[in-house]
């Protein structure tokens, strides 16, 4: 087992359990709201610092549009599942909490999937199985497990929103650079024109996703020394 023991999903529990309790500032949710927001969206950015949920981060980011939808989906699911897990936290027996959390998360993923299928069929087609795979996205599960089980509903919603937002921003950043370098166009606007920039098709294919995510994590690493890094090593 060795190196596996600190599996990525477990690291979220070690990574940011005390979110919000760290530095109480005056504000909403008993003064812990802002700190929670900052921790989730920036200090412990789920994608770049905790390296969670990379599957969908790689798969849907070949265009900005799909990244936006995926980010929105994740915000919706984390906020709702955190709220409900937190509301039920005193009634869930400890031994079966995982399966209860999965059931709650799956419910909201199904809601979102139905919504997409009903109103945005082409987008639903494009995202394919990756909407369903939000269920196994470690971020949603990790926040339910590490935060919502210990905190009040309102604060849990803030935490869910912050983590969803941090993930969405990272997703859109990756999507932006991949679409820009891969096609020269972003959301239909031509930014890099043909004569002096030849679109590099590789960026919208699979390898481009890996390169771009690697570079983005490296940039985050340079910007600050992540606290999560020492915990992992």
């Amino acid at each position: 087992m060795g190196n596996c023991s600190s599996s990525v999903c477990a690291s979220v529990v070690v990574g940011a359990p005390a979110a919000g309790a760290a530095c109480p500032t005056k504000g909403f949710c008993g003064g812990r709201g802002l700190a929670t927001l900052k921790d989730g969206a920036w200090t412990f950015n789920p994608l770049a610092i905790q390296i969670l949920g990379i599957c969908s981060a790689l798969a849907v980011t070949n265009r900005v549009e799909t990244s936006l939808v995926m980010g929105g989906a994740l915000i919706f699911v984390t906020v709702c599942s955190n709220l409900f897990v937190s509301l039920l936290r005193n009634y869930i027996p400890h031994r079966i909490r995982m399966i209860v959390e999965v059931a709650i998360i799956a419910t909201f993923v199904i809601l979102f999937d139905r919504f997409l299928k009903a109103f945005y069929w082409p987008m639903s087609k494009q995202l394919g199985p990756y909407v369903g795979l939000i269920i196994t996205n470690c971020i949603v599960m990790g926040r339910a497990e590490a935060f919502a089980l210990q905190n009040r509903p309102a604060l849990s919603m803030v935490d869910g929103f912050a983590n969803g937002l941090g993930y969405a921003v990272a997703l859109v950043a990756i999507g932006f650079f991949r679409e820009l370098l891969g096609t020269g166009r972003v959301l239909g606007y031509t930014l890099l024109a043909e004569p002096w920039y030849t679109p590099n098709q590789l960026m919208i294919l699979a390898p481009g996703a890996f390169f771009m995510l690697g570079i983005i994590i490296a940039v985050f690493n340079t910007l600050k020394q992540p606290p999560a890094k020492e915990a992992k090593k």
């Binding site: 087992m1 060795g2 190196n3 596996c4 600190s6 599996s7 990525v8 999903c9 390296i51 969670l52 990379i54 599957c55 969908s56 790689l58 798969a59 399966i99 999965v102 059931a103 799956a106 419910t107 993923v109 199904i110 999937d113 139905r114 394919g128 199985p129 369903g132 795979l133 269920i135 196994t136 996205n137 470690c138 599960m141 590789l202 294919l205 699979a206 390898p207 481009g208 996703a209 890996f210 390169f211 995510l213 690697g214 570079i215 994590i217 490296a218 940039v219 690493n221 340079t222 890094k229 992992k232 090593k233």
Partner: protein, 196 residues
């Protein structure tokens, strides 16, 4: 129905449409557990076994329970429940009957429930409208493809310990870049066979 031959699906799932390098599924455990070849092989075997069996079970559940009763909207929740229950069952079974196998494979089983490749394979099976034999071929191919990818990665990472990686790139970033190169290598297979 999908009229691709089962063999084509099997090989396409290993090489051209590798579930990890082309569809990005199962990245979490891929990054976390690809440090040693032995560990990777154990995890790969466990993933392949669970993937083949759960796609078969989910095929049966989807076509003989969910569709006749008009319950397709419950697909996600049923699939994940089947996977979680099956993994739990296998763990208990292996622990009871073969302690040796339990220490070789059993420790990886809890990790597999949250492996998105397993759920992804079942969802692809539904989206691509596979028949039963195609499902078996796809499950086996996807599992083997994942194993091949993580073994290659483990081999590369063992060598990488002796190279000087720039500090910001140490750890996960360089792993991602190397995976990108691997994905490029596998793109060389593109055009031989393909599945959609």
């Amino acid at each position: 129905m999908n009229d691709t031959s089962t063999w084509v699906i099997l090989f396409a799932a290993i090489f051209t449409n590798n579930i990890l390098l082309a569809n990005f599924l199962g990245m979490c455990s891929f990054i976390a557990c690809s440090n040693r070849i032995g560990t990777s092989l154990g995890l790969g075997t466990a993933v392949t076994f669970v993937m083949v069996t759960t796609t078969i079970i989910n095929y049966a559940v989807y076509h003989y329970v969910l569709i006749p009763w008009g319950l397709e909207h419950l697909t996600f929740i049923v699939f994940i429940a089947v996977i979680a229950a099956f993994v739990q069952f296998v763990e208990m079974f292996v622990e009871r009957f073969s302690l040796k196998l339990y220490f070789a494979l059993g420790i990886f089983l809890p990790l597999i429930t949250v492996n998105c490749a397993i759920l992804g394979a079942s969802l692809f099976m539904v989206i691509r409208r596979y028949t039963f034999f195609q499902t078996v071929g796809f499950g086996l191919g996807a599992g083997l493809g994942w194993t091949v990818a993580i073994l290659l990665m483990a081999g590369l990472r063992q060598k990488m310990r002796y190279s000087h990686v720039p500090e910001p790139f140490q750890g996960v970033p360089i792993a991602m870049i190397v995976t990108g190169v691997l994905a490029m290598v596998f793109m060389g297979f593109a055009g031989m066979v393909s599945i959609t």
